[in-house]
């Protein structure tokens, strides 16, 4: 089938502001938006620039706005986009070129929540145990692939890019609720910032945007309650 791709283009070396490029591509119904973008890049305009790697929704490279909504280009099928497929870069991130945005501010927020297990009491040798219930407690938030789809779909983040954002909170949640970790208080202090969890307005765009189907708002809610109550034991 023949589909029109409307792609938001910007070349920092030539353009003063972004513009819409229109391209016609022949695709199969089961093709992904990524395949259509590749068709444009490979056969029509090699200057079209995007990030992609694994092409099946695990690496998190190709998050973008597809028909007005954040998604991974490799997880949206052409049969689901209609006659016109409109593609834009993620919002509120510094634009580098075409669909490529600067991910540095995003990863800086990720690093701000101390995204690593902190525990100095390791067994001298061998295995440390964890119950199945304790493991299940934070399972959902271990799925995060840091694609930034959630954070850049959040109106609070659009309004104020200092908001630490859902992705960083999800990453913090993964450790706060891991009973092997000893530094929940440190992370909660970070998230208690003026630009921390309290900027979340339970808008749920993040849940809709997450390609890994993480219940992001729930994770944020649990962090809020943890801050109010102190941690559950």
């Amino acid at each position: 089938m023949r589909i029109k791709m409307r792609i938001r283009r910007f070349n920092p070396e030539a353009d003063s502001k972004p513009w819409w490029g229109e391209y016609w591509v022949d695709v199969e119904e089961s093709d992904r938006v990524l395949d259509a973008l590749h068709q444009v890049k490979w056969y029509q305009d090699g200057a079209l620039t995007l990030r992609r790697s694994c092409a099946h929704g695990i690496c998190g490279s190709d998050a973008m706005v597809i028909n007005g909504r954040n998604a991974l280009a490799c997880k949206v099928l052409m049969q689901d986009v209609g006659d016109v497929c409109q593609v834009e870069p993620l919002r509120n991130m510094p634009l580098i070129k075409d669909l490529v945005v600067d991910m540095e501010p995003f990863f800086a927020k990720y690093r701000a929540v101390l995204p690593y297990l902190i525990n100095d009491n390791l067994p001298a040798s061998g295995e440390r145990y964890q119950s199945q219930e304790a493991r299940a407690r934070y399972d959902d938030t271990t799925k995060c692939i840091l694609c930034a789809a959630c954070t850049t779909s959040c109106p609070s983040f659009w309004a104020n890019e200092d908001y630490i954002g859902p992705a960083a909170i999800v990453q913090a949640h993964r450790f706060i609720f891991d009973d092997r970790d000893d530094a929940a208080d440190l992370r909660l202090r970070v998230l208690n910032d003026v630009d921390g969890v309290w900027r979340c307005r339970t808008v749920f765009n993040c849940v809709q945007a997450c390609p890994r189907e993480i219940d992001v708002t729930r994770a944020i809610g649990e962090v809020k309650l943890a801050l109010l109550n102190g941690l559950e034991e």
Binding site: E104, A108, R111, N160, I164, D193, V194, W198, L227, L228
Partner: protein, 144 residues
């Protein structure tokens, strides 16, 4: 020093965790919301549906605010005034913080909202304490 990942300098806020009162404010917004869900909705429906706005006269109010029941109604109205204004002004502050990033402008606007708000709370309190016509009588006595 955080790990940097490229030669690009990272823009924007990097350090989080400065002490603040946001979580108390967050809790207040919910609790006040819960209280007002009862009081404001009651006030609104009572005044608009049961009493009807057309039928609220100066004398009605004077009557409602007088006697032992008047104490209750004055307290009730005072709670609407205080809780409503606190909740509302804070809501406006949220919005200002979201959209106005210039520190000076942000401060100016917030100060204006709170300044006018406090003045209004003062005026509203006077009206409730002095009762219907009470403000007029106060003017008269001050003016001599």
């Amino acid at each position: 020093m955080a790990v940097t990942s490229s030669s690009r300098p990272v823009q924007g806020k990097l350090r989080y965790g400065a002490p603040n009162h946001e979580h108390k404010i967050w809790l207040f917004m919910r609790l006040s919301g819960l209280v007002m869900f009862v009081t404001v909705v009651f006030h609104l429906l009572y005044m608009h549906m049961f009493v009807r706005v057309e039928n609220i006269t100066f004398d009605n109010i004077a009557e409602r605010w007088s006697g032992p029941a008047g104490v209750f109604w004055r307290l009730f109205d005072a709670s609407l005034l205080f809780i409503g204004m606190a909740h509302g002004m804070n809501g406006v502050r949220f919005s200002i913080n979201d959209y106005v990033h210039n520190r000076f402008l942000n401060f100016l606007l917030t100060a204006a909202v709170y300044g006018i708000g406090l003045l209004l709370i003062l005026l509203g309190s006077l009206a409730i304490i002095l009762g219907a016509g009470g403000v007029g009588r106060l003017f008269e006595s001050v003016m001599g």
